[in-house]
């Protein structure tokens, strides 16, 4: 296959090797060293996508990371579809499969382009105005329409089969950008003995040198010097990272790099987190487009990009180019392209008096210059065929180049909290001072000559003596962009932000509608808010806003540069933190047994807990009813190992708990337990749990499953910072004890034969006792406690011994009807007894009294954490939400349902916190927080139902079963 736009020779691609690729179903060829964009252009393909809002045909605008138009979908098979890839940054490889996006049914004929005709209906602020419009036009009309027709690419539906890596690295000097400035900096730093990392987003290092084969550095042709420099860097053990984008500059010189490794068998992306003593930014500059009617037509391109395609890739982007040059660099591009074999139809220079030396050279080359003229509009359909100049002349061309001056890439410097200063001579914001150890070199600080770039890089790298020599270039100049954009606001379809389809007139309209701050103009028009973050549009938009306001650019301000500087794949950010490794799952010691039994699991904090053990033919509801009945009638066995546990030890342990919990502890005798409640200093319940006193100076504290870490942190906080005089040591023992709960009237009968060294009869080991003993020969801490209202024990043993003990208890208990039960039955059983669950009955605004737990508060205590807050008038109001029982009529209400005083009431007076079908009562029961609830016993209230009639409920005592509490003493 012939590539009609490929030059006969020259460029970096390896012409000896051919790669085949597919774009929109057609097969093309290219060479290693090509990008997808250069290979498409070699075949004359400019049209690569449709625009976001108007579905206008769009072509390749740039040759670099700033590309706003040529976003394609790469498809490397299931799970490897990658939308929004910039064709200018995709290295060509054999078999590459790419598709255009954002078009239907085809790229050439797009139904959505009809919106182009209706473009007048989509002005600046369209989204906001539509949101504010009457009725439901947004929901019904615009959003579905926009979602179908716009949309940037499709995410893959399958799981990603690839591997992603993450690495930390440290270095003395990180150099970002491997153009002449960056190379000089890396060389200088490495020669001085520094550990250096040099990264560059391109597939090949060299930056602007790659498109300057004719230049000479240190007496060598540019490309030869590049080879020598890279060889020396390798010899100096500099870590060279091509295809690696520095996308985020964090605090203390922590810079994030996204590497796309070349090797097929390695990770698809690698995220580097580099901490550098010093950072040298050599990130170059981006050429500005110019707004005129139809400046988005395929075949309209940045002038320097066309030069790069010709000299770096050996591809002519057209046969006959017209150049709109508001900046000297347009001439340089025109001369280079002419030398490469392109016809130059004309240079249109809006300046009345272009520089004399450039005019002379153009004349000498036979290139016509139209001074004082711009482009009124481009001609053509899906490809440019010519232009009309502002003087009214018609000029034919198949390539229209824009040279609007340069915008230094200060994104990373700005992220380093560097201040920018406006440089009127260079018509750009340049780096000023930064709090980080960061230096800039070359075009990113407005130095465009090769000699200056090398010298600045050499100095930034800490080099001594002379920098690699190069001829000083001429100092370029241009028409300030604020002047060059004059008149654009009146031109239809003069685009500023190509990716978000923002026109010059949109920005002018926003200013006329009263937006003054550039941050507001940006959001209102969406200028610069697309995935390219406005790399080609920010300065042009700013210039239009300034011109419309009649102000200088610095008076209008500058928008911030966000992270990431360029779009970065999620895969690299996620690394290995996905699937099973996304978040650690904690499995209790008896997890394997429950899994083998076919338990249903539920996540509780990071734990997985058995929710129920359904038998064949049972659904969850049936299983829960059976498990509950077994506990009430015989006995149940329950894995409570996930309970948080903290060992509180020391001579002042009792005093410490006295201060941390509402309860009194000093008189609690060793061998006894107490239900403890912990408040925050603001008086609200934060945790609860049974605390056993093992000895005068040793407490076994339990916490909620989800609260263990929080409680230990809070205890450490008070111990270290408020009560450092207390001699207390805190140890997390959550995973040192597995907990097997036996609950039910037969619990003692089943357990007793296993216990050695302890009499667990009702008389000698009453409810709320604790003791160290042996159970089946295993050292244990045995608690007599109940969270079901039944006679109950909790056996604490070492986790590795727990499965054996559990199986033995199961065997011994089988004749007595011992039944394993899960968390769902546990919830029902405790609700029947009115026992609260912290974070279900409480929500951070519930006091002990609200929860009906005043009895637990040590009234004689002088102080404890939260006590002072309980004395606030607000905390003593009688209409505070109080815990009540609710007897719903008919069905079980939803947890979280609002409680109303009457079915039609507009204001909620509380909410349902728990609701279940109670097997013991054979009816629905619920707990709730109800304003002044304890004075409303017997009243009828209503639980809201989404889309249904409220459920009537009778307010009652929260203890539904065994109000006298006799069953625990069995």
């Amino acid at each position: 296959m012939s590539a009609p736009f490929r030059t006969h020779q020259g460029g970096r691609p390896d012409r000896a090797r051919t790669l085949r690729f597919t774009f929109d179903g057609r097969t093309y060829d290219g060479h290693p060293g090509d990008t997808l964009a250069s290979a498409l252009l070699a075949h004359g393909v400019h049209l690569t996508g449709r625009s976001f809002k108007y579905h206008r045909p769009r072509g390749i605008l740039s040759a670099g990371p700033e590309e706003p138009n040529a976003l394609v979908e790469l498809d490397a098979g299931p799970g490897r579809r990658e939308p929004n890839s910039r064709a200018t940054m995709v290295p060509l490889r054999d078999g590459l499969l790419a598709r255009s996006q954002n078009r239907w049914p085809s790229l050439a004929w797009d139904a959505g382009a009809l919106t182009g005709a209706a473009a007048a209906l989509l002005p600046a602020g369209f989204y906001y105005k539509t949101f504010m419009g009457p009725g439901r036009a947004w929901e019904k009309l615009y959003e579905p329409l926009i979602r179908r027709m716009a949309g940037l690419g499709r995410a893959p539906a399958e799981a990603d089969p690839d591997r992603y890596a993450q690495r930390y690295a440290h270095c003395d000097v990180l150099v970002v950008g491997a153009g002449p400035a960056g190379l000089a900096a890396a060389l200088a730093a490495a020669r001085g003995g520094a550990r250096v990392i040099l990264c560059d987003e391109q597939m090949e290092m060299g930056g602007s040198l790659l498109s300057q084969p004719g230049t000479r550095i240190a007496g060598l042709p540019g490309w030869e010097w590049l080879e020598v420099a890279l060889a020396e860097l390798r010899a100096l053990k500099v870590r060279l990272l091509p295809r690696t984008t520095a996308f985020s500059y964090g605090l203390q010189n922590m810079v994030s790099l996204a590497e796309l490794p070349e090797r097929a068998e390695g990770p698809r992306e690698r995220l580097w987190m580099v901490r550098a003593a010093r950072v040298v930014l050599a990130t170059g500059a981006i050429e500005r487009p110019l707004p005129f009617s139809g400046n988005d037509r395929p075949g309209v391109m940045l002038a320097d990009a066309a030069r790069v395609y010709a000299l770096r890739y050996g591809v002519l982007a057209g046969h006959r180019a017209a150049v709109l040059a508001a900046h000297d660099s347009g001439y340089e591009a025109a001369f280079a392209l002419q030398a490469a074999g392109m016809e130059i139809a004309a240079i249109l220079d809006p300046r009345a008096a272009p520089p004399a030396d450039l005019l002379a050279e153009a004349t000498g080359r036979g290139i016509r210059v139209l001074a004082g003229q711009g482009v009124a509009r481009s001609l053509g359909g899906r490809r440019v065929t010519g232009l009309i100049s502002t003087g009214g002349e018609r000029i034919g061309c198949d390539l229209l180049l824009m040279a609007g001056g340069w915008t230094p890439s200060v994104h990373l410097f700005s992220q380093a909290r560097g201040a920018l200063r406006w440089d009127a001579a260079r018509d750009a914001y340049l780096p000023d001072t930064a709090p980080e150890a960061v230096l800039c070199a070359g075009a990113c600080q407005g130095s465009y000559g090769l000699g200056a770039c090398l010298a600045e890089g050499h100095a930034a790298g800490g080099g001594h003596g002379a920098a690699p020599g190069a001829q000083p270039g001429r100092e370029p100049s241009g028409m300030p962009t604020a002047q060059a954009v004059a008149g654009a606001a009146k031109a239809p379809m003069a685009f500023v932000d190509f990716q978000n389809d923002v026109q010059a007139k949109d920005i002018a309209l926003a200013v006329r509608e009263g937006f003054r701050s550039i941050e507001h103009v940006k959001r209102y028009t969406t200028n610069g808010m697309a995935t390219d973050q406005g790399k080609t549009s920010n300065m042009v938009g700013l210039a239009i806003a300034a011109a419309t306001l009649g102000q200088e650019i610095p008076a209008v301000g500058l928008t911030r540069y966000r992270h990431p500087v360029t779009p970065t794949g999620f895969g690299g950010l996620a690394g290995r933190h996905r699937g099973d490794l996304f978040e650690p799952i904690r499995r209790a010691p008896l997890h394997g047994w429950a899994e083998a039994e076919g338990a249903l699991f539920e996540p509780v904090a990071q734990w997985r807990r058995a929710r129920a053990f359904p038998r064949a033919g049972e659904d969850l509801h049936a299983a829960v009813l059976r498990e509950c009945r077994a506990v009430r009638q015989a006995a149940g066995i329950f894995d409570a190992s996930t309970l948080g546990k903290i060992e509180v030890v020391g001579p002042d342990a009792a005093e410490f708990l006295e201060r941390l919990y509402v309860n009194p502890w000093k008189k609690l005798a060793p061998g006894r337990c107490r239900y403890g409640i912990m408040l925050r200093e603001d008086g609200f319940v934060t945790d609860d749990g049974v605390v056993g006193r093992m000895a005068a100076d040793r407490f076994h504290v339990t916490t909620t499953t989800g609260g263990a870490a929080r409680v230990l942190h809070m205890m450490e906080d008070y111990l270290q910072t408020e009560f450092p005089e207390l001699r207390v040591w805190l140890t997390s023992t959550t995973e040192q004890w597995a907990v097997i709960a036996l609950q039910g009237p037969k619990a003692r009968t089943i357990l007793e034969p296993f216990v050695e060294g302890l009499d667990i009869s009702a008389a000698s080991f009453p409810h709320m006792s604790v003791a160290a003993c042996r159970v089946m020969g295993i050292p244990a801490r045995l608690f007599r406690v109940s969270f079901t209202g039944e006679l109950g024990f909790e056996v604490n043993v070492a986790p590795d011994q727990a499965p054996a003990l559990w199986r033995a208890l199961m065997r011994a208990g089988a004749p007595h009807g011992l039944t394993p039960y899960g968390t769902e039955a546990m919830h029902v059983l405790r609700a029947e007894k009115g026992y609260i669950i912290v974070s279900q009955e409480t929500d951070g605004t519930v006091t002990p009294d609200d929860a009906g737990l005043s009895w637990a508060v040590g009234k004689a205590k002088r102080d404890f954490v939260g006590k002072r807050s309980l004395a606030r008038p607000e905390m003593r109001r009688r209409d505070r939400p109080q815990l009540v029982g609710l007897l719903p009529r008919g069905t079980v209400p939803q947890e979280g349902a609002q409680i109303l005083a009457s079915p039609g009431a507009r204001m909620a007076e509380g909410h349902v916190t728990s609701a279940y079908w109670s097997p013991a009562l054979d009816r629905p029961i619920a707990l709730g927080l109800l304003a002044g609830g304890r004075e409303r016993m017997g009243q009828t209230v209503y639980a809201t139902v989404m889309g249904g009639a409220p459920i009537a409920m009778e307010v009652t005592d929260p203890v539904f079963l065994d109000k006298a509490g006799e069953r625990v003493n069995a």
């Binding site: 203390q252 270290q720 102080d863």
Partner: protein, 98 residues
Amino acid sequence: MLLIRCPHCGDRPEVEFRHGGEAHLARPPEPAALSDAEWAAYLHQRRNPRGPHAERWRHIHGCGRFFNAVRDTLTDRFLATYPTGAARPDGTQQGDPA
């Protein structure tokens, strides 16, 4: 990501630490003696300065100890870290309220 100098362990990455709010706010020894307004001020009112700010950190995934730090809220730069109970170092005056 910040590098934070634990006074007990040295420089460690930010992810090993947990922030603990404003420093040098001692719990009143007799909360009951305080008026509601005074207690509310202790509970809720914080300086939120623009500039150097003394705050508590805990090296929760390291030695587990609380310590104090003076950090410039404008630059995120740490001016000093020091053990709990030690006085605020000289030259780290509080910034103005924001």
